[in-house]
Subunit: 350 residues, 4 copies
Amino acid sequence: MLMKMAVVGLGYWGPNIVRNFSDSEQVESVLCFDSDPQRMEKTARKLPRTRSAKSFEDVLASDVHGVAIVTPTSHHYALARKALEAGKHVLVEKPLAMTSEECASLIAIAQDRKLILMVDHTFVYTGAVRKMKEIVSQGDIGDLYYFDSVRVNLGLLQHDVNVLWDLAPHDLSIMSYLLDQKPTAVSAVGISHYNHQEDIAYMTVHFGERLLAHIHVNWLAPVKVRRILIGGSKKMIVYDDTESIEKVRVYDSGVQMVSREGIYRTLVEYRTGDMSAPKLDNTEALSLVVADFINAIRTGIPPVSDGLSGLEVVRILEASQLSIKNQGALVNLTDGTIESPYEHVTKNRT
Amino acid sequence: MLMKMAVVGLGYWGPNIVRNFSDSEQVESVLCFDSDPQRMEKTARKLPRTRSAKSFEDVLASDVHGVAIVTPTSHHYALARKALEAGKHVLVEKPLAMTSEECASLIAIAQDRKLILMVDHTFVYTGAVRKMKEIVSQGDIGDLYYFDSVRVNLGLLQHDVNVLWDLAPHDLSIMSYLLDQKPTAVSAVGISHYNHQEDIAYMTVHFGERLLAHIHVNWLAPVKVRRILIGGSKKMIVYDDTESIEKVRVYDSGVQMVSREGIYRTLVEYRTGDMSAPKLDNTEALSLVVADFINAIRTGIPPVSDGLSGLEVVRILEASQLSIKNQGALVNLTDGTIESPYEHVTKNRT
Amino acid sequence: MLMKMAVVGLGYWGPNIVRNFSDSEQVESVLCFDSDPQRMEKTARKLPRTRSAKSFEDVLASDVHGVAIVTPTSHHYALARKALEAGKHVLVEKPLAMTSEECASLIAIAQDRKLILMVDHTFVYTGAVRKMKEIVSQGDIGDLYYFDSVRVNLGLLQHDVNVLWDLAPHDLSIMSYLLDQKPTAVSAVGISHYNHQEDIAYMTVHFGERLLAHIHVNWLAPVKVRRILIGGSKKMIVYDDTESIEKVRVYDSGVQMVSREGIYRTLVEYRTGDMSAPKLDNTEALSLVVADFINAIRTGIPPVSDGLSGLEVVRILEASQLSIKNQGALVNLTDGTIESPYEHVTKNRT
Amino acid sequence: MLMKMAVVGLGYWGPNIVRNFSDSEQVESVLCFDSDPQRMEKTARKLPRTRSAKSFEDVLASDVHGVAIVTPTSHHYALARKALEAGKHVLVEKPLAMTSEECASLIAIAQDRKLILMVDHTFVYTGAVRKMKEIVSQGDIGDLYYFDSVRVNLGLLQHDVNVLWDLAPHDLSIMSYLLDQKPTAVSAVGISHYNHQEDIAYMTVHFGERLLAHIHVNWLAPVKVRRILIGGSKKMIVYDDTESIEKVRVYDSGVQMVSREGIYRTLVEYRTGDMSAPKLDNTEALSLVVADFINAIRTGIPPVSDGLSGLEVVRILEASQLSIKNQGALVNLTDGTIESPYEHVTKNRT
């Protein structure tokens, strides 16, 4: 049986989802809706087998199996909820919603109704990230030391979310997918120059004594940087998404403890070895997102980026936002409280 | 009159200072001392007009005009103090000392005795940084929005200082030189995997509402990154020190507020224009450090990187260290206290 | 009046032309034909407003205004000729035909029937090449010294043409467009490892005493290089098409004659100055090809890459091929003869 | 026994040889001579254990074991000859001499007198080239298909040699070292804009039916390119000497013949696999040149870049020069004659 799909929201990203639905051999037709009729017209002009809906209610009333919600973030929750309540499987653009409570609510509704709730964490489906998952899972890089991501460019400033909510979901979803550990606390700082939304932000995610993650997102950078460094005790990875090929480079380099004859203390030395860039699968990630969504609908097997991974990302974003408002205070991810360990510190540090 | 110079400490950096003294036409001879005789022999072998001293006391007792202290950081204060007290002008490797009190003490002694106290903030003397100073001073980049520096590589782990004290002085001295503003507060996080010294650290320097600086230093990175992004309201700069030429690129790009017909709210749009890479002076920076030291001795005109700039860098490092020990708490740079604004925050953030 | 277009050949490039026709607001419908029905089906699946023809004869018999011929090169002439004879305007994929005689014949037919004959020299329509044309035309780079192009990658080996005929039309069309001079002679060497078609070739194009062009094309290179260097007496250009932005860099560098006091002979010195990367128009080049074709049909104004520019490229390719077969002998482009100046050279060179 | 060495010529490269002699633990002293006393003074100022000679005759009359000739090329032969005749071992800057006859003469004299004659083909001693030699020798890249080298930059125009004689010795010496085959013929073109010396040149070296080498050298390029591509039937190498690390990249990519079900003819397909960048030895190449020279003097074992390899390079340069003067005619390397196969070609190519 071929699937009928709908896409709500035809801004920047929506048409890409329409195209991937349209290209899929498992999809019969794509119903499109946007409050701007010109966008619907333009989409229909470019992509075959699409139909335009008159309203969101029309989409809900239609016979589509699944609905992709690709609107501004502030509308995700309301639209996704309505779609689930109308019995539709739902794919939501990242981030899943504006609060972790909204996410939890969507997850609960989907579970109740045995519907698929998926979030479009596209990067998790790229050949590069899948290859890194393989490398990390096999233990090739040893103990994880750090995850450092820089995602900056001259970007379109969003009106309903700041740069953290706009860009960091990519980094957080990659981080969660690659690291088999739960973060314990988060802190963040940000600054705003236009619109009262932070346009530059730095986030630190703590995983205990030995592993630290850090994310730098910036809408005001003159160059595009998309680089993730992953350090381990045995190997290290550089993932540069701006490279056309060789996006992932694995360095047989590291630091090691050595004892030298005649020296009584242990020395730390660094070691550099070969570098290799594994061949990557070039399949368009979004086509795999769409395929995973369709497979989940057909089989009930949860997609890789399911509602829970959407919640995990929003939980960290939410804590980061709280930290930004409190001058970078550490926010505990277990209970959502701000750490306040500073009271028993002698203020005069000397 | 030709100068007589001494260099104390012939590890990684010391021989470079010996070489620049030796190459200078204003220097007659270079007296060298290191507790390791092999290092003295090797230096004497490679560089002419150098002599070896038997002890640090010999250096102090000699007729040299100036002494460069290029030892591990923990010895800077004691040695620089003795040299000043022996009436020598002093050039100290960065960071100037281990605490701001030590720095202040050295500054006071030098002032008392009318001696030059200089810190070797080499980067400030590079063609790249001098060109950026010119661009920023002329107002070409408009209001400053951010200063973001990444300085990572697989590095030699130091025993007496962590990665922040080892690498961040470069970034902080460049920052102080370029930005005509005083930082108000700092926060930092770091993590340690060997030796109980942080090998990865992130530092945020606050300058008020509109300007944020951030520094990422890392000894465990498989690739060398040396990149500073400077964002302004009119132009933006990328300074990539790993490029052999075109280290500084100026982007005529930015974000602007626009009003469009028929739209009642103001929109934020980005704008990209030409990029240009100004020609840079390639003179070895350290030769200019040495020349500035000699000039200061001769004329009494303070060098660009004088004791005060050394103090400024140490003051920020010190506050960062306090912040790291307090889980990233914001440390006020005016009075050295930790901010504790968290008490009046409702812990339940929802 | 909206245009009706046809595209014959739906291999690698054909669907891009279909898409651009389909996206054009001046095109009503696109009739597609390929001898492989699966390709037609796939195109129809992906692009709206396309129809499939049953045969090439059907295309000719239809009411389309223009036909794009996007088949293997060996079929260009026969198909383009038939299309012109059927009264259709014709856009032919590069190279225009297999021989200059074929090109001349197509040009003559088109002229006779007052039809547009255009060749798809896509690169000439890119923002990068148009910007370079602007720079060269304004005289900014001074006298032209050389044009050096490298176009290599691991490529699909063609069956009916060698690497020269496959790749060099790009370089030759850019060269002809930018350089306001006629080449006088050409030589080339090539080597073949599979299929008896050269897979690596080097071509030198002579323009007299002071200007030399050279093209390196290679199907067996592990990396993709797309770089053109243009040297002038005042400035120099590097055009790197693999860059995502800043494809064109203009260097205020060069060589100059200087006289120095006390030195009686003139010295040659080099001079390096600033580099700038002008902002480029990012419009998809093929959409401008299509627009120029449509405009030519409507107005009769010849397109930038008309039949004559197609002939010029083929004339050079043809001479190169003759040169390859004669061990790199210089082939005169005026009369198509091989130069044989070697008879009066003393063979013993010492 | 420690060696006494002399260096004649202290222009751009000479001081580097002085420094490497001076740094060597096997060298006792370095006698320097240049007709310009300022150069001698500057060298003596910078490097210890050097002495200045009053004349070249003084050098010959001294007790030095070996003499390095680092003068303009046109003086190599006369000076090297005199040094050999005075019983000195000789290291000559590349190219060995101006003609192959001169090279042969030097080789003969050295053999007669049982002296070492070495040419400074520095690149052959780099970690990068030695690693490539290892890879090629082990057969990892399969049958060799091509060797393509680009060596361009804005360079100092030489007065006594053209760009080919200045730069191509690097490429030719690397080529000869890596490829275990003798070239059969060569052709070249060049063009001159200043000084009547070619400042841009292209050279093609033939090795039979299946292997082609090509070298592009240019003094008028705005950017520095130092890239060698080596293609084989199994793997391919990219050697980019402008990279600070990862200069050598090995691509597990290539072209293969495949037969597909239902298709009667064989197809050629390309295949891309992993890339790896082997760790390279970073020892300064020139220190290994010096060590090989000293070792040869001590043991009589010929250095890697001996007189014969110097002759081989000059033989190809000489033939190239003849080709340039004859409009790119193919010059046979066996007997030094120009091929003239063009007489029996029908001039009308159609």
